[in-house]
Structures are given as structure tokens and as C-alpha cells.
């Protein structure tokens, strides 16, 4: 049965998320989300660091160096989660043609790249005293390095087109194809014999002391909040760049500088 355009518009009009697919509507909401997330990030990081350094006990096997875990694991998780989010918005942009989706994807990439660098760097510094080496070409480490290169490739490709729409579509393809690397990273410690340890956190059971685990989870939420805040800030900048001739934005800036 063929649907008329007005029918399908009616169908979408009742859905709140379609309203927010417009940059003009999402711009102020993104600002509110950003502010909330900065506050959450600061509070959660303060609590998480306090717990991590002053409540969590010394590890029986590793001594104090294990305290790197409170930033290493959250950074590694965020590097993977952000890539998946980036691929999701790239896919949404390709399928629906919504320009805000591509902008969302671009806004996430630099923060994801930073998270992958932090995961690699802290992992190297943790590996030296515990494994005796900063780096080894094992499956977990190598696939995480590839994740970093995928972020860099995505950003380079998106920036290399004068026509932003072409850049959106080309980079979205890298984001989508590269997404296959994320489950490879995640399961690498199961699929291959790696120097990297298996996961200490599993649903229902965990091999970590309660205070260590709590501190790590609070730090994880702090990282989530930080990444969302940074991405929202970058998204708003991207909207200002791309919509600089839109009447609503000109009005908003006029109001702000008055």
C-alpha cells in the first residue's frame, strides 16, 4: 500500500526524536546536556579518584601499580563505545540522510581517538612493571592500535573533501567498515592467547575487590559524562560552522552578543 507524504509526515510528527533531528532544535538541548555532563564528570571523577586512591586497598599481587586500572579500563571501554556510536550515527546519516547524524559522528571521533591513545599509553605504562614490556604485538594491543588508526583515518577523510556532503559519506563508510574491529578487540582475549589478561568484570561475577570495582565503575561513569560533554560541545561548534547562514543561528548569536 502506497503511503502519501502527508500520512508519513503525520506518522513521524508524533515522535519526539524526529523533532530533535533538526540542528535548530537540538542546538539548545545539546547545550543543556553538555552542562549537565560537565558537572557529572567533575563530581564523579572526584569521588572515583578519592575511592581509587584512598579507599581501595593495595592489590595482593600487583601492589600499587594496579591503580592505573581506574583510568585504563574506562578509557579502553570509551574508545570502543565511542567508535560504535560513531558508526551508528554514520549509518543513520547514510540511511536517513539526516545531516545532524553526520555531525554527531564527526563530533565523537576526536574524543574517541584521545580515549584510544589514553588506553594505549596507560596500558604501556602498566605493562612495563607487570609484564616486563611496554609493548607487545598481541591481539588485544594490536587491535586497539588499529582502532586508533581508524579514528585518525576517519577524521582525515572527513576533512579532505571540500564538499562536506561527500566527506560525510566517505568517512561514514570507514566508520561502518571499521566497526568490525570493535568486537575483535572485545573478544580478542578469548579468541587468542594474549599477554593481556581476560576481563575481570563479568555480569554476575567479578574477580576484583568490591571497593576497587566500585571505584572503577564510578570512574567509568565519569568518563562517559566527560565524553558526552566534549562531543556535545564539538557538535554545537560543528552546527555553528555548517549552519552559519541559517536565520535561527544568526538570531541566536545576535542575542548572545547584544
Amino acid at each position: 500500500m502506497a503511503r502519501t507524504e502527508s500520512q508519513s509526515n503525520e506518522k513521524f510528527a508524533g515522535r519526539w526524536f524526529w523533532r530533535y533531528a533538526s540542528p535548530a532544535t537540538f542546538f539548545p538541548l545539546a547545550g543543556k546536556i553538555e552542562l549537565l555532563c560537565w558537572v557529572l564528570a567533575i563530581v564523579l571523577a572526584a569521588v572515583g579518584l578519592y575511592m581509587g586512591f584512598f579507599v581501595a586497598p593495595t592489590d595482593a599481587q600487583q601492589g600499587e601499580v594496579y591503580r592505573v586500572i581506574f583510568i585504563h579500563v574506562p578509557a579502553a571501554w570509551m574508545a570502543m563505545v565511542i567508535y560504535l556510536a560513531m558508526a551508528f550515527w554514520a549509518c543513520t546519516g547514510l540511511v536517513l540522510g539526516t545531516r545532524l547524524s553526520f555531525m554527531m559522528s564527526h563530533a565523537l571521533a576526536p574524543t574517541g581517538a584521545i580515549m584510544s591513545v589514553v588506553a594505549l599509553w596507560t596500558g604501556a605504562l602498566w605493562g612495563r612493571p607487570t609484564w616486563g614490556t611496554y609493548w607487545v604485538w598481541d591481539a588485544r594491543l594490536t587491535s586497539t592500535l588499529i582502532l586508533f588508526f581508524l579514528y585518525v583515518g576517519y577524521m582525515a577523510l572527513a576533512a579532505s573533501f571540500d564538499d562536506k556532503k561527500k566527506g560525510d559519506r566517505a568517512s561514514a563508510l570507514i566508520a561502518l567498515v571499521g566497526a568490525i574491529n570493535v568486537p575483535i578487540i572485545y573478544f580478542s582475549v578469548k579468541w587468542w592467547n594474549t599477554l593481556h589478561q581476560g576481563s575481570s568484570v563479568r555480569p554476575g561475577s567479578s574477580s576484583m575487590a568490591t571497593t576497587m570495582l566500585t571505584a572503577m565503575m564510578i570512574m567509568t561513569f565519569a568518563f562517559w559524562a566527560y565524553c558526552i560533554a566534549a562531543a556535545m560541545h564539538r557538535l554545537r561548534t560543528e552546527i555553528i560552522e555548517r549552519e552559519r547562514n541559517a536565520a535561527w543561528l544568526k538570531e541566536a548569536v545576535k542575542e548572545a552578543i547584544k
Binding site: P57, G63, R67, I71, H72, L125, I240, E241, K250, V253
Partner: protein, 54 residues
């Protein structure tokens, strides 16, 4: 406090270099990102104002 002294805290059981090297790198990364965010916003607003004679 679980540390005998602040000296023991900074020493991290002899692993201070690795622990603080990790946290220090994260701090540098965050500051660098915040500076980049601020710069990009300023540039975007400037371009918008110039283009629209605001």
C-alpha cells in the same frame, strides 16, 4: 588513610613513575582537548559573525 605518609602516596610502592605517568598523560590529553574545543568554538563564532556582518 591507607597511606603512611604523603611521601608513600607519591611513591606508589616504588611504581610512582608508571602510575603518575598514566594519570599525568590523561590530564595532558584532557587539557589539550579542552583547549582545542575552545579554539574551534571561537573560530566558528568569528567566521559566523564576519560572514553575516554582526
Amino acid at each position: 588513610m591507607i597511606w603512611e605518609s604523603w611521601g608513600a602516596f607519591w611513591d606508589m610502592g616504588g611504581r610512582g613513575f608508571f602510575v603518575w605517568g598514566s594519570y599525568g598523560a590523561l590530564a595532558i590529553a584532557i587539557v589539550a582537548e579542552l583547549v582545542a574545543l575552545k579554539r574551534a568554538r571561537t573560530a566558528a563564532l568569528k567566521a559566523l559573525q564576519e560572514e553575516n556582518d554582526l
